[in-house]
Assembly symmetry: C2
């Protein structure tokens, strides 16, 4: 019997990474090109498809290309389009799934990057066998994917699962979305950096948390025993735990997975998050929901997530 | 062909109401008994089943009993049980669906009252044809049912959809659940009464909002032009609108339905709620989600909701 491979494509503001993934989640080929070099989406699609075709050649006898899964900012699963993505040069609505599908003559599915990673967690990661979970990416912002009864929650317009923009404090920090107090202004790499700066200012310390400073910088400080860095993690975890406790009141998941730079900070982030989470949970939910680090490998999560859209579609 | 009827049973702390409902949502028979008179659940089940059997007799030739739908506090859909319901005299876990099913020899399904009403809205009310919506009951507390892709969100433990216990303000009003700042301490009949009292106290007015005062009392005051009553509605709507805007970030519904006493206050509650809702929505969601009054008749919603569990199960 012919075996199957899936092309997983992750389109980001800076880079587009793509690869060929088998049913077990093994990446047989992987490549990255600069998204910014392609002001016209059709040109990027053409180049990516050429690379995929070429990469597929050695496998052609044994495998067939089952489909193309795409993770992209502002991706609309129902329409297969990218819609007004602020961090891409492509304007308006781009029918990306159709462009790929026509070029490679197979099925193409597209969703936003956080949803793709959530499905990746379900197919290849720590959520295997789970029917109800929430997946959180703590990157520059806070992305999320919600799975209910084994299915991704897309909502009426395919834009469900924007937990980064739940308003935690109505008069809180200014968010890039134009509103104030969104969760991601506190709980993200950007958020913890802001907290760390605020704490230093509060101590009248000279603030030197420049553009180069990131969650890793604050993590390293914390490892070195820096009390301000540890306090920044505690503050971040305290708010994240409250937000996750509130999330449970919506979908009552079996587990919540944390992914991304900040989630790699181990106990510094997990301990205060779990403490706040349990403290803020409604009694009926206490001590039964796991908060776990993602089991997706940091560097391959995007491709695996994108590819899992197709494997999932098959009831894999 | 034999037509079918469903028994709908709503078990509340004070009363148990039950009836026979046809596929169109017509209630052919309805009766209420006092829950409190039955310290042992088996006794209540026996009496209710006797009444249903008797009421069914005139229809026996033409109809068959398709099933029993039950709405009850702390109802577990997966197990068909009521679990530690604080406002019922029955202690521990009561296998209520099994008790009814055995007595009437047909299928029985059970869920909590808010979920049952949400399914009622989908089968017989304003959510017909909708796949993604949120249903909110504004009663003594705030109950909710979330529907995603045409299916009720039960979550891992069947206790999903407790939006009344989302923490809006970490140091806010004391809630009966033991925590502080829960949505229902602001947005419910009890919540608006508390707000109205607080406003009067703030104005150094003699507070005479006694136990008899309810949402209806404040509504009547507002109709009469009482500025404090109108301010209480505005305050309630402001918080409810924010909470609903946050809810959209979870499941991106097509509509949100408001049910219950407070929802019958028309523009007094809907206007400030919708204003706050739109103001607090993430831009991608603005101006596309409807906030609507429930179309279920206030007095029959509980029976219709309970019965709809069975009709829904059939893919009705």
């Amino acid at each position: 019997m012919t075996q199957q491979l899936v092309a997983g494509i992750d389109i980001g503001g800076t880079n587009t990474t793509f690869g060929l993934v088998d049913a077990r989640g093994t990446i047989l080929f992987k490549e990255t090109i600069a998204t910014e070099h392609f002001p016209i989406p059709e040109d990027l699609v053409a180049v990516v498809c050429e690379h995929i075709k070429k990469a597929f050649e050695p496998f052609a006898g044994k495998y067939e290309l089952k489909g193309i899964g795409i993770g992209a900012p502002n991706g609309n699963f129902f329409k297969g389009t990218i819609e007004f993505a602020p961090n891409l040069k492509w304007k308006g609505i781009v029918p990306l799934a159709k462009l790929f599908s026509e070029r490679l003559d197979c099925k193409a599915l597209l969703t936003n990057d956080a949803n793709a990673a959530a499905i990746g967690e379900m197919i290849f990661g720590g959520a295997r066998g789970m029917k109800d979970f929430i997946f959180i990416t703590l990157g520059t912002g806070l992305g999320s994917g919600i799975v209910v009864n084994g299915e991704m929650v897309y909502g009426h317009d395919s834009f469900a699962g924007e937990l980064g923009h739940v308003i935690m404090f109505p008069d809180g920090r200014q968010c890039g979305c134009g509103r104030k107090g969104c969760l991601e202004t506190y709980c993200s790499a950007t958020g913890i950096k802001r907290t760390y700066s605020d704490l230093l200012i509060g101590q009248h310390e000279k603030v030197n948390v420049g553009m180069g400073a990131d969650a890793r910088y604050i993590y390293n400080k914390a490892v070195g025993g820096d009390k301000t860095a540890i306090e920044a993690f505690n503050y971040t975890g305290d708010i994240l735990g409250l937000a996750l406790a509130n999330s449970v009141a919506y979908t009552s998941p079996e587990a919540i997975f944390l992914f991304g730079g900040l989630a790699l900070s181990g106990d510094f982030i997990f301990k205060p998050t779990i403490e706040s989470f349990e403290r803020n949970l409604l009694p009926i939910y206490k001590n039964k929901i796991k908060i776990l680090p993602s089991k997706l490998p940091e560097n391959d999560a995007a491709i695996l997530g994108a590819a899992s859209l197709i494997w999932k579609d098959d009831g894999h």
